[in-house]
């Protein structure tokens, strides 16, 4: 699904990512872990086009329909089917919960702006579909009752769920989750793990996630990449990572 080749990201003198390689297979749940400042979000930012890598390539759908997405704009990459959530939650705060998800549909809209103003039938039909989809996603994350409230009025945990719902609205093939379990208690964390597995199956997603909660990482990831100071120091399934000396040395298992 995604291949990162020798990607290096430099900011002035700082090397945030150093010859990073990764190969994410379709349908996998892959985890990215590492101490704080290791460069994990930077990698997400490069994949989604927020930064252009100093060196290296990002290839989407490697194989027959492959696409070099290095240097593409974030909105172009989203249209291709890669969407993300943010470490620090970036909801559209003053907009309603429903609108936040609704906007996730906009990138696929086919009617033009004049159809929307004049409320032509083709637009009305699309709008109805977008609305239904948004309501469905809200229900799925358990936020349907709060749909008319403002996004910033939601408690933290629900805001995270809203962000995921919004990302799902863009109909991604690859979903990047940046610390989805942050600030969650054990009960919520377990529900999140079930939720991630559920949406992966229902929407046929490939999931790449950054997490500090080892319970989540070890619990649902099939493969784990370990990052330290911008370099990949270990790679493998949960068991091998837990016993890898490099990983233990760098850091391990702070809940």
């Amino acid at each position: 699904m995604l291949k990162i080749e020798n990607m290096t990201m430099r900011f002035g003198g700082v090397v945030a990512a150093n010859k990073f390689n990764a190969d994410i297979e379709k349908g996998q749940i892959v985890g990215l872990i590492g101490p704080n400042g290791a460069g994990k979000t930077t990698i997400f930012n490069v994949i989604t086009g927020v930064y252009r890598p100093t060196e290296g390539k990002i290839i989407f759908n490697p194989g027959e329909e492959e696409q070099d997405i290095t240097g593409l704009r974030p909105d172009e990459i989203a249209k291709l089917g890669i969407c993300r959530t943010f470490q620090n939650i970036r909801l559209f705060k003053e907009l309603s919960v429903l609108d936040n998800v609704f906007i996730g549909n906009h990138l696929r809209i086919e009617s033009n702006v004049f159809s929307s103003i004049l409320k032509f039938p083709n637009y009305r039909k699309e709008e109805k579909m977008m609305l239904e989809k948004s309501l469905y996603l809200l229900e799925k994350v358990g936020l349907k009752d709060e749909k008319d409230g403002k996004a910033h009025s939601l408690p933290y945990g629900k805001q995270r769920r809203l962000e995921i719902a919004r990302a799902l609205a863009t109909e991604p093939k690859l979903l990047l989750l940046d610390e989805p379990a942050a600030g969650m208690n054990p009960q919520e964390t377990r529900e999140l793990m079930e939720f991630i597995k559920d949406i992966k199956d229902e929407f046929e997603l490939t999931i790449f996630l950054i997490e500090h909660h080892m319970e989540v990482v070890m619990g649902i990831c099939e493969e784990i990449l370990v990052l330290d100071h911008g370099s990949l120091i270990a790679q493998g399934d949960p068991e091998s990572i837990q016993t890898d000396s490099n990983v233990i040395e760098a850091y391990l298992g702070v809940e």
């Binding site: 900011f11 979000t41 930012n45 927020v50 930064y51 943010f86």
Partner: protein
């Protein structure tokens, strides 16, 4: 045009450039720290000139003391402006503080109209400045020489202040990385107040020399120079003091040369700055000496 004409124009251009530079510094210092376009800066410049005007005409204080007092007073007004109009909004969305800046600018302009009257006044030029110097066959007024000299001295003083004093270094730290610097125990309010004071002081000095050079005073006289000097700061790289000076000179010389070489375009003189602005924003938005800022996501 001949060599004499060219010399004349060069002298004028350098003079005008110096004045623009002095005013542009105020914009760039404020922007560097607060990321705010102080729309009211041009009107502070105007206030400085008027204060000097009243100081000379209505008190018996010797003119050179008036110059100093007026500049200090203007500096304090700038400081006050920050306290009243900008400080309360430091945590607010950017557009809010920009609107306050515009409001402050309009307030000062109309305050000027109300208090000083809309009719043009003549700046009382001390006699010594009326001397004319003959150079290479051309007559150039003394003030045209004094302006770059004073500017140079002030710039040297400012550079020393910024690089060698603790306050100056704090200013630089704040403009490089506001968040980190504020965590380092720097008294932000004090530094920002000093920044506004210095910027407004320099604008007043520039204003006094402007008044000597172009003695017609009007309450709206700060609008155009204000806009142009912000543009000068942008051209040089906003946030960068050297850049502001460079931008000021480019603009001043460019404007004079434009009229000199293409007298038909004199009416478009003011548009020159704006056209330069658009060009720079399209080619190198960070300005001639600016650095690219990467956004943190």
């Amino acid at each position: 045009m001949g060599n004499q004409g060219l010399l004349q124009h060069l002298a004028n251009g350098i003079s005008l450039g110096s004045l623009y530079a002095l005013i542009a510094i105020g914009y760039t210092m404020v922007y560097g720290i607060l990321r705010l376009i102080n729309f009211a800066h041009g009107d502070i410049f105007m206030l400085g000139i008027y204060i000097t005007y009243y100081g000379i005409l209505f008190t018996s204080i010797p003119w050179w003391i008036v110059f100093i007092l007026a500049s200090v007073l203007t500096g304090l007004i700038g400081l006050l402006l920050e306290k009243v109009a900008y400080r309360p909004l430091r945590e607010s969305p950017r557009i809010t503080i920009l609107i306050s800046a515009i409001g402050a600018s309009f307030f000062l302009q109309n305050f000027g109209i109300v208090v000083f009257g809309g009719r043009p006044k003549a700046f009382p030029i001390p006699n010594v400045f009326n001397k004319v110097i003959k150079l290479g066959g051309v007559s150039i007024s003394l003030i045209t020489f004094i302006i770059p000299l004073v500017t140079l001295l002030l710039l040297l003083g400012l550079t020393y202040f910024i690089t060698k004093t603790k306050t100056g270094m704090a200013m630089r730290a704040l403009s490089k990385d506001y968040e980190t610097a504020s965590l380092m125990g720097i008294d932000i309010n004090r530094i920002i107040s000093i920044t506004f004071f210095i910027g407004s002081f320099l604008a007043a000095v520039g204003g006094i020399m402007w008044g000597i050079r172009y003695p017609q005073l009007m309450p709206l006289m700060g609008v155009m120079p204000g806009l142009k000097c912000f543009i000068a700061a942008v051209i040089g790289g906003i946030g960068n003091i050297t850049g502001a000076v460079l931008g000021g000179f480019i603009l001043g010389l460019g404007e004079i040369m434009l009229i000199a070489l293409l007298p038909k375009l004199t009416g478009y003189r003011d548009a020159f700055a704006f056209i330069l602005l658009i060009v720079i924003l399209l080619i190198k938005p960070t300005g001639l000496m600016g650095e690219k800022i990467t956004e943190k996501v």
